[in-house]
Amino acid sequence: MYEQISRNKWKSAALIVFFMAFIFVLVWFFEYVTGWGKGGLVLAVAVAMGMAAVGYYASDKIVLGISRAKPVSKDEYPYLYNVVEGLAIAAGIPPPKCYVIDDTAPNAFAAGRKPETAVICVTTGILEKLNRVELEGVIAHEMSHIKNFDVRLQTLVVVMAGVVALLSDWMLRSFMWGGGRRRGRSRGGDGAAGGVLVLVGLALAVLSPFIATIIQLAVSRKREFLADASSAELTRYPAGLASALRKISADTEPLEAANKATAHLYIVNPLKNLKGGNSGVNRLFSTHPPIEERIAALEKM
């Protein structure tokens, strides 16, 4: 359990460093190809941060609105509140507010930038279909996302992916319009080597948004594993979450309130039709690790 926690923390940190290195390489080619200098990077970072800021400050309200979640009081859902408050004590954070989605599909998510303003949202289905230890496992998973500041990390990753997308976009445009001129001026015409570099730059410009997305999703999957392991640390009972994951994934009902934009937030992907096998490509482009792997990791604790 503790090894899994530190391993996943280490891996997501390594991915972030790798992402930064990737941006560094991209910037080098960007300068070489477009001749814009550092100004391009500064502009890209500023634009990406501006876009992400909206997501950072409004995402919780948007998500709660889209999924038609209603805030509930302790009198209405004493059971839910007791579980949430207990795990907040275990995690050493203030108890988050509870929201409920009126949907029979079992699922849950957490939102909010910091523990003080965080919310935990569950469907009525999950309250009915899971027993207490299973629900505790699920809530502990969400509590771990809050405690580990995953929303913040996710925002950082989104900014980085945005920078990559902007840089590569601008690079492609410069190829289309000013490409020849820039190339002639750059590095005093060093012939074949320069040509190769430009080709590599072109390939990077085309491929880098994909690479950025793949890294972004890899970070997301690592954080899911981390939240599973931290959940076990909070409840001291990994079997509870494992059994909950089994029940949730076996449930064939789709969650109507979820869509592609919010799917990554839930404890289990709510769009059941996307759950198509474990083949390589499917894995690279999914926000969550396969359920079987998560259960196996929990059972190893």
Partner: protein, 184 residues
Amino acid sequence: MGAFVLLLIIIGAVAIMAIGMYNSLVTLRNRTDNGWSQIDVQLRRRYDLIPNLVETVKGYAKHEREVFEKVTQARAAAVNAQTIKEHGQADNVLTGALKSLFAVAENYPELKANQNFLMLQEELAGTESKVAYARQFYNDTVMKFNMRQQVFPSNIIANMFGFKERDYYQIEEEVAKGPVKVQF
């Protein structure tokens, strides 16, 4: 000159490390205190629920005087406990007494259907698991705090400023397995 500068750098580095260790010891001590007060809050909440519960059960099962007395006594002992150790022991007795109270309730179908009783039961179960989680948080923090006072080199700082190791909040094996399960 060079040696003097080097000496200054070394002294500075040692001082910064010492300050860091001292501050983390203080942080852990405060977190331990906070952890204990969390347990205390939840225990008190539990003690407050019990008279209500006893009254509700009495309404349906007047003749089970023995059980009521046992619960009331155990509660009084727990409320008056002073040290962490006493708290742990008194709490075990109380948990046992509550178990027999719920076992008695088992024989009264009308009681089991009473909305107030069901709510109190949920509150008690919730509070009990909160006590367990608060205890877990407290014990984890105590472990970190005590460890910091034992390992080198922060043990030097801990000794210098008179930090004391804390007691764990211990419970008996049987109870440790989880909150009381009440089957209906």
